[in-house]
């Protein structure tokens, strides 16, 4: 019979559903670059915090107003570079696949991403001002993970599991406080690179 027609119908239905409700040109390369920037940022942060060490004794993290300001600038710099990479590679990919960006899907994706993200950002700043520095790295991981899970409905499925891993990592980091920078490098650096490569291979080759 006309089985082929029905198979085509189902394919068409699937394609329309995902094209109309998800941003599918999210680029894996953006993740890879965000990861590299994060690792570079973590290295810079490391050298800022652990300066003038006496390597024979215990290492002392030096945190004063000056280092906190340089840490904040490193964080903001990393964030801007990562968002830039995200926009650049996703726009490039959307051009290739002829998908329109900045339509209502993208808007919904960003709104849902930014609600937990901005909440976490503001909360981290407040805690930072009150002097609770150690908790900030775990919290940024947790809120970033929550933001990804929340936004994953509107883009590729992998984003959800990436979000769950970031949350788990954030919780570990809360328990092992003091190792914030290491967890931070894993979450924002290594996980981004791994997921970016996997998604790049899966969707873009």
């Amino acid at each position: 019979m006309d089985q082929q027609k029905y198979i085509d119908d189902l394919k068409e239905i699937k394609s329309i559903m995902s094209r109309s409700s998800r941003l599918i040109s999210l680029s894996g390369l953006a993740g890879v670059f965000a990861g590299i920037f994060a690792l570079a940022g973590a290295y810079l942060a490391y050298t800022t915090v652990y300066t003038d060490q006496n390597y024979l004794g215990y290492r002392v993290a030096v945190l004063n107003n000056e280092t906190i300001i340089s840490l904040l600038s490193i964080a903001i710099g990393t964030l801007i570079l990562s968002i830039g990479a995200g926009v650049f590679f996703t726009t490039r990919r959307a051009k290739k696949t002829n998908e329109k960006l900045w339509d209502h899907q993208t808007k919904r994706l960003l709104v849902n991403l930014f609600i937990p993200l901005v909440t976490g950002g503001i909360m981290s700043l407040i805690l930072l001002m009150k002097g609770y520095i150690g908790i900030v790295a775990p919290l940024t991981l947790i809120f970033y993970g929550l933001a990804l899970v929340n936004a994953s409905k509107y883009t590729l499925d992998e984003i959800r599991s990436l979000g769950l891993l970031e949350i788990a990592l954030g919780l570990f980091a809360t328990y092992f406080i003091g190792y914030g920078l290491i967890f931070w490098s894993i979450g924002f650096g290594i996980l981004h690179i791994v997921y970016g490569l996997v998604m790049h291979r899966k969707y873009e080759s």
Binding site: Y6, L10, E12, S20, S21, K100
Partner: protein, 96 residues
């Protein structure tokens, strides 16, 4: 076999109507232009298929003004969603 064929919905046999329903069941609502771009059809073609789905009460619409331009938002009704799910299940049965 006859049972299955009964569930196949005539309203969704057309590609454009099938496309409209696919898009509307996964979105709360979509406006005319978004549907047009998504399905890559002409104004007239889309309008006539929307009208026929409307007649079957599978979709509903709401007229609004956006920057003083009319903007029509379409949404799938519960009836339409049910019919669409039934239709897809029937197709899946046929392919088994």
């Amino acid at each position: 076999m006859k049972e299955i064929l009964k569930d196949l919905n005539k309203a969704f046999e057309n590609k454009v109507r099938l496309g409209i329903m696919s898009a509307l069941v996964v979105n709360d609502y979509l406006d005319f232009n978004t549907l047009k771009e998504l399905l890559d059809v002409t104004d007239g073609n889309l309008a006539s298929h929307l009208k026929s789905l409307e007649k079957s009460k599978y979709i509903s619409f709401k007229k609004e003004f956006l920057d003083r331009k009319p903007n029509t938002k379409y949404a799938a009704t519960d009836e339409g969603k049910d019919a669409f799910v039934k239709h897809i299940k029937a197709i899946e049965q046929l392919l088994k």
